[in-house]
Amino acid sequence: MNLVNNCRIKTKDSASFRDPSGFVYTRDDVLLRQVNQVYEEDYRLLMKSGLYNSLVDKGFLVSHSEESLDMALSPEACAVLKPEFVPFISYPDEWCFSQLKDAALLTLEVQKLALESGMSLKDASAYNIQFLRSRPIFIDTLSFEKYREGEPWVAYRQFCRHFLAPLTLMAYRDTRLNQLFRVYIDGIPLDLAGSLLPWHTKMNLSLLTHIHLHAGSENRFAGKKASQGAAVSKMSLMGLLDNLEGAIRNMKLKKFSTTWSEYYDITNYSEESFENKKSIVKGYLRKLKCGTTWDLGANTGVFSKIASEFSGLVISMDIDPLAVEKNYLEIRNNKEENILPLLVDVTNPHPGCGWECVERKSLLDRGGCHTALALALIHHLAIGNNLPLDRIAGFFAGICDNLVVEFVPKTDSYVQKMLSTRKDIFENYTHEAFIKAFNNFFNIESTDKIEGSERILHLMSRRKTNG
């Protein structure tokens, strides 16, 4: 039987190559997962043991349907799965503290349920978790293996590097330290985490054990062979998981405010102006009936929530970790399902990295959007970051078909504040120059002044051909 016939377009996922159990690929734009024969026994156990159904029923694991073997990409296949589609892939350095914490707790819960069903997670990578309907979900169906009595948890070290170390650093040192994921894509080295953490974390039994002593032991016992008979009972494994869970549940972010997390409390325009702005944006979005919307500079997500009424999915991006934290907690508490808050610096978004610089894709390679919102953002890019208006317009033309964009003139008190401590080298920062730059790429469909302010909103649609 020819298993690789009749494929029109087939592409193996650039991140799916480390595990011999199978891989992810697209065929005719449909995402599929091939299960290799070497993993067949474990896959059948996952399905027959009731673990798969239990995890899917609880919303912990993506569901899948089994497709014909003719859809396989290579002859090693024993099954082809079509997993539930996750519309946007995000990475742990783009998550706020509570997103990473929820992902960690989910991983531990999945491992506990797996042990109860006679299986165990063979990896505990943060990249195996995605956010679907605003909740974390495990996406790697091939991460489960048969549990063998006495064997330690093979993913323990990876769990500590991918979850415990970054969470501890965020909680006890600085919430921005999950950015270390950009350098260490296989998790934060424990000796590095230990050296960055405050001394008093050694007074916490769990952190002393799983980070400080763990890091020391990695070096002390490196390269030594395991002796026969050394075993970890299931009770001990449950104790290990229980201790990790307790440590993570108790972690909280230090309370402090940042520039943007309190933004809506300190805006320079009245409540009436703000309501007028909301009403104009709502009118624009109603016309567009968006598929996916990217809200860039979303802050705590006020306009993302408006966009969610008219969009399939809203990616709500902001540079401020506490604004993203507030946004996520509110969405989680309100059970809003189509908003994904992410920590993104528009001037320096996640690049392609890992093996051949494609193992983890850049933000822009993970999809553009039907509509982008750029509210109270352009002056930060143009004046705060010295970005020329034509480059800003070009960027938006590369990511969206429609754009809702606010222009804040130099006379606005916020812009005045930005210019108060620096030389004004922004002669071209005028509404006319803004319109000219964006007109190269977009048709201006509507222009509306926000009542009681000098700010101007625009609805634009991208021209079919630029220039």
Partner: protein, 71 residues
């Protein structure tokens, strides 16, 4: 809890003994040995926690029964 303090003291003693060895052969095996050691300790704590919960729940049940009005 006394058992907690004893385990904490043992771990501190261990931390003083491990020192640093610049061995970058395979840090994964170091983690493997470490897990075998600490899982036994944490498993013990977990067992005590479970038994303690069971005892508490039995007392709760009997207290509730005695609170119920007799017929």
């Amino acid at each position: 809890m006394n058992s907690y303090k004893i385990i904490f003291a043992l771990l501190w003693l261990y931390s003083a003994l491990i020192g640093r060895a610049e061995a970058y052969i395979d840090p994964g095996s170091g983690s493997y040995f470490f897990q075998i050691m600490i899982a036994a300790l944490l498993g013990g704590l977990y067992a005590i926690k479970i038994y303690w919960k069971n005892i508490c729940s039995k007392f709760d049940k009997s207290a509730k029964k005695s609170d119920e009005p007799s017929e």
